[in-house]
Amino acid sequence: MGKTIQVTDELRVVQVEPYIWEIPPYGEMRVPGRIYGDRATVEHLVADVKAGKSWNALLQIVNVACLPGIQKASLAMADVHPGYGFPIGGVGAFDFDEGVISMAGVGYDINCGVRTMSTNLTRDEIEPKKEDLANALYCTVPAGLGSTGAIRLNLKEVDKVLEKGAEFSVERGYGFPEDLEYIEERGRIAGADPGAVSMKAKKRQFKQIGTLGSGNHYLEVQWVEKIYAPDVADAYGLFPNQILISIHCGSRGLGHQIGTDYLKVLEAASRKYNIPIRERELVCAPIDSPEGRQYLAAVNCGINCAFANRQAIAHLTRQAFHDALGVRPQEIVTLYEIGHNTAKVEEHEVDGQIKKLVVHRKGATRAFGPGRKEVPAAYREVGQPVLVGGTMGTCSFILHGTKRAMEETFGSALHGAGRTLSRRQAKKRFWSGDVIAALAEQGIVVRAHSKSGVAEEAPGAYKDVEEVVEIMHNAGIIRKVARLRPLICIKG
């Protein structure tokens, strides 16, 4: 222990535990930086600084630590990589009365997240029919650039989506009321004010509800390959070879527009309230200010929009399973749904006191431990499910939150593998046809709406998800419950 890496004259990284590294505060830092990782994680971050790369996650961790009202530490999960303002895999919690809310801590895809559903089907049952199922999913779930959804909304209805979230979709006949219990915030977060969202943002939502998007969004049919924690798996209703479905997407054009709109508002606010920001994208406002309150109200709308969207896609997924396999919709249940780009008002213990905080999780997942009231009753004894997607053709994980996460990371954990290659590099190195063929050899069916997207999302362009999960598991922030392998990947 105590290994120190001197990065610059002022900046150093010190190993404080096997999987925890700290950046002792210097200059304007109000709290330390704290990175969950192994030696390789940190060396990768340091290498970027030493190579003079202007976009580097280590400096972003430092920059967040300089913001007013930040509590405990500027945190980075094991899948950390450069973002804009906040690093991706970054967590920053701020005092509700004295701290700031930052657009960089939420990003442009508000409440991008994962819904996982479980079935009573097994891998053996699906295997002979997977091409048909893949076709049904590809045709039923709109995805890719320019795709539009089946529900067309008018302005009044968009406002309802923003207030009611997944409840709106259920009321429209998309899915079941039972789904809501197993979504964070029960699929409808309080404090959403459609008045804080621009007309431009709402217009973008008219045709996009129930669409998957593109980039790293996906819909996967998966099977349970390995169970690590049988008791927790039981509580979650998991069994070996079980077929699950995971949907990864966010708030679509509405979320993007909220981000863009508030970039300007919060840049002006940063100046108005004299908040020194060390990167231009790190725009923010005091939570206790008109701009801060408005942005939070808009974020809550974005959160609800993503809930509504995933609920609609879940319904379409059930439809596709019915069309291809005759499975009744009621036989597909929601295991859990999480978000990994959010700012949420939560209560946490800081220095022995319960404080009201705004917790930003940018490419980081909430991971509440046992006993928390926010966790559904059926899971409360074991902690909330944390759904971590790998890349195509590798694996995904179901994890659970822990007491240690509550103590150290405001109940937060990683969200996924994290990129190592830029999209441009990935396209140069991988060809979509080869990637699809390689996956087919492993028995994985890929249907992609974008040809180049597959190369950009090639497994070789990402960190190894097993490695980053292992680090967080060893650090005790989450514990592994099950490992899933993909059978079908639908990409935008």
């Binding site: 431009k200 999209r423 997207g453 935008g492």
Partner: protein
């Protein structure tokens, strides 16, 4: 076409340039369109006016790109080209007017690549050197 793409792990960086600020902005717009689709296969039958304003040229660039994204999304168009018709600098900042050209998005005709979520302030730079204007920013995809 003078734009280039930069390596950024999660997303896409663009560097655009031109003999004037107007040309550099237009070059950057084409760079962004080029992330979403093969612009050589997109016609230019539809024209959409673009208007935006900001405090400084770099922010104006980001504002313009985001306005183009908004227009292409709500009008269901792909853009192939963008020209700045007017750029004014007053005490209150910069205002820009321009025209985007494209056609309705058609999955059977166009190569649909990656959706751009937004142009960001990350990596934002504006430089003028030897009469060459260069703009740079990261796109969230």
């Amino acid at each position: 076409m003078t734009y280039e793409y930069l390596d950024h792990e999660a997303d896409v960086g663009i560097r655009a340039s031109g003999a004037t600020l107007e040309e550099a902005i237009a070059d950057g717009a084409r760079a962004m369109f080029g992330v979403m689709t093969d612009i050589n296969r997109v016609g230019r039958s539809v024209e959409v006016p673009i208007r935006c304003q900001a405090d400084d040229p770099a922010a104006l660039f980001v504002e313009c790109l985001n306005e183009l994204l908004f227009q292409s999304d709500v009008r269901h168009l792909l853009f192939a080209d963008f020209q700045v018709t007017r750029l004014a600098h007053t005490g209150a900042g910069y205002t820009l007017e321009g025209v985007a050209r494209g056609e309705p998005l058609d999955a059977t005709k166009h190569d649909l690549w990656t959706e751009v979520k937004a142009a960001t302030y990350a990596g934002l730079r504006y430089d003028v050197e030897d009469g060459r204007h260069t703009l740079q920013c990261v796109l969230d995809v």
